[in-house]
């Protein structure tokens, strides 16, 4: 299973390194989102700085949608499922590999985005360790849910519209917990975020487990 996961993740990341879709499209998209938030909320830093954690995570959430869609788009255009199902790979391995690749991509994106938030909104990135830990746990949870739903929706003609509807409500607790943990850290009390961090960890563990168990049935019979 882990061998297959490694293989799939390596393949996805190599494709990303070649095509640069995440770098050339998803990162600018996320940048546009935080710019637009700035425009919507006005130039007042006293408004923007306190909201920066929430806006950051909204941008991450939307980018995660794009990243998971892309993750299934690379599986040979129209035959995404066919290819995965004919491949002889362990479904749990496929799930872990794809989720792992998305996590890696999103973490890079988050680093850039954090920089953007610091510059544009004037957020002080204090409590770096907690910020990073929150990023990792939250992203694992998001990627897990994204990949499961991506597989549910892949091959359906309505996937572009259905995936956000399925994904966003489930991801709501991640948005909440990650935002609160960041708020605490940015306010200079990183230890206040530890509770939220453990909530994120629970979320990640639960959905990674569901993914490992459910990916087989999901790919096999459809």
């Amino acid at each position: 299973m882990l061998r297959d996961a490694w293989l799939v993740a390596g393949k996805d990341l190599r494709i990303e390194a070649r095509s640069r879709v995440a770098l050339n499209q998803v990162v600018p998209f996320a940048a546009a989102v935080i710019l637009l938030f700035g425009l919507a909320l006005g130039p007042d830093r006293s408004v923007l700085a306190p909201a920066s954690a929430g806006l950051f995570w909204i941008a991450v959430l939307l980018s995660c949608l794009l990243a998971t869609q892309r993750s299934f788009a690379v599986e040979s255009a129209d035959g995404a499922r066919d290819g995965l199902r004919l491949s002889g790979l362990d479904p749990a391995g496929i799930f872990l590999g794809k989720a792992g690749a998305v996590v890696a991509e999103l973490l890079v994106l988050e680093a850039l985005l954090a920089l953007g938030v610091a510059v544009l909104y004037g957020a002080h990135l204090t409590g770096g360790l907690v910020l990073a830990a929150v990023c990792v746990t939250a992203t694992v949870g998001l990627a897990a849910v994204g990949i499961i739903y991506g597989a549910v929706a892949s091959g359906l003609r309505v996937k572009e519209t259905l995936l956000p509807l399925l994904f966003l409500p489930v991801a709501a607790p991640v948005l909440l917990a990650a935002t609160k943990a960041w708020d605490e850290a940015l306010a200079g009390t990183p230890s206040g975020g530890l509770g939220w961090l453990s909530l994120l960890a629970v979320f990640a563990v639960v959905y990674v487990t569901i993914g490992i168990v459910a990916f087989g049935p999901l790919l096999e019979e459809s």
Binding site: Y149, P169, V170, L176, L199, F203, P217, L218
Partner: protein
């Protein structure tokens, strides 16, 4: 058919019960002190709505699990899950509506970020997504399987959502008024009316879900009927031009 008789009896009981709840709630029970505009009367319908919604989602989850478990796999569990979730969405919508109506005169706003209301609103969109997924056509078995997995994901999300939202709220401020009237001394005719509300709306849920389940079965056999003709036509193609 005894099953049909039981169902009919359930329907009549639910109808009588709901009517009685409305009558008692609107005209018989007294106004409670501390609740302006007689708002306490919403107590007899709002909590039962929320209760039924949670029961419905629990039922949908249970049926989905029974479908996913290979030894109990049967398409009827998929129908059950779909029927229950649909009824659940109706009741969730009503929970939101009555909650909002409660909020307007009480706090002067149609919406408050109360943990229960917020959780319910998220559940509403979560299960709207689930129903949308169910409506995407495909092989019945495939549809059933992916719906069951979506139901699993959605249901597991419920406690996480509730926990995170209530924690989030408790950090900001204590809830202004307790929604379900836990601080309210419910007694006499009020207690009985509330109890009647719970029972009769639960009966209404059972009756609705049973009929929705039947409808799903009929739709399936209709489709199977269509399949028989389609198969015949397909075979006729193979025999060359008639």
């Amino acid at each position: 058919m005894t099953g049909s008789k039981v169902l009919k009896a359930t329907g009549i009981l639910a109808l009588v019960g709901v009517a009685a709840t409305a009558w008692l709630g609107l005209w018989v029970t007294p106004d409670a002190v501390g609740f302006p505009h007689g708002l306490v009367r919403l107590l007899y319908i709002h909590p039962p709505m929320a209760w039924v919604a949670f029961v419905a989602y629990g039922m949908a989850f249970l049926s989905s699990m029974l479908y996913l478990w290979p030894r109990t796999r049967h398409i009827r569990f998929d129908r059950m899950a779909g029927a229950s979730a649909e009824v659940g969405v109706v009741f969730t919508g009503l929970t939101l509506a009555t909650g909002s109506i409660w909020g307007r005169p009480t706090w002067g706003v149609w919406w408050t970020w109360d943990p229960l209301l917020t959780t319910t609103a998220l559940l509403f969109v979560l299960y709207l997504g689930y129903l949308a997924l169910r409506r995407v056509p495909g092989d019945p078995e495939v549809v059933a399987r992916r719906s069951a997995i979506a139901a699993l994901i959605a249901f597991v999300d419920v406690p996480v959502v509730y926990f995170s939202v209530s924690w989030w709220r408790s950090l900001h401020q204590a809830p202004t008024i307790d929604f379900t009237g836990r601080h309210l001394y419910v007694h006499g005719s009020m207690a009985w009316t509330l109890l009647l509300g719970f029972v009769s709306f639960t009966l209404a849920y059972a009756w609705l879900t049973a009929h929705r389940y039947r409808l799903a079965g009929l739709q399936d056999s209709e489709a199977d009927e269509g399949l028989r003709y389609a198969l015949d036509e397909r075979r006729a193609e193979g025999l060359g031009p008639a």
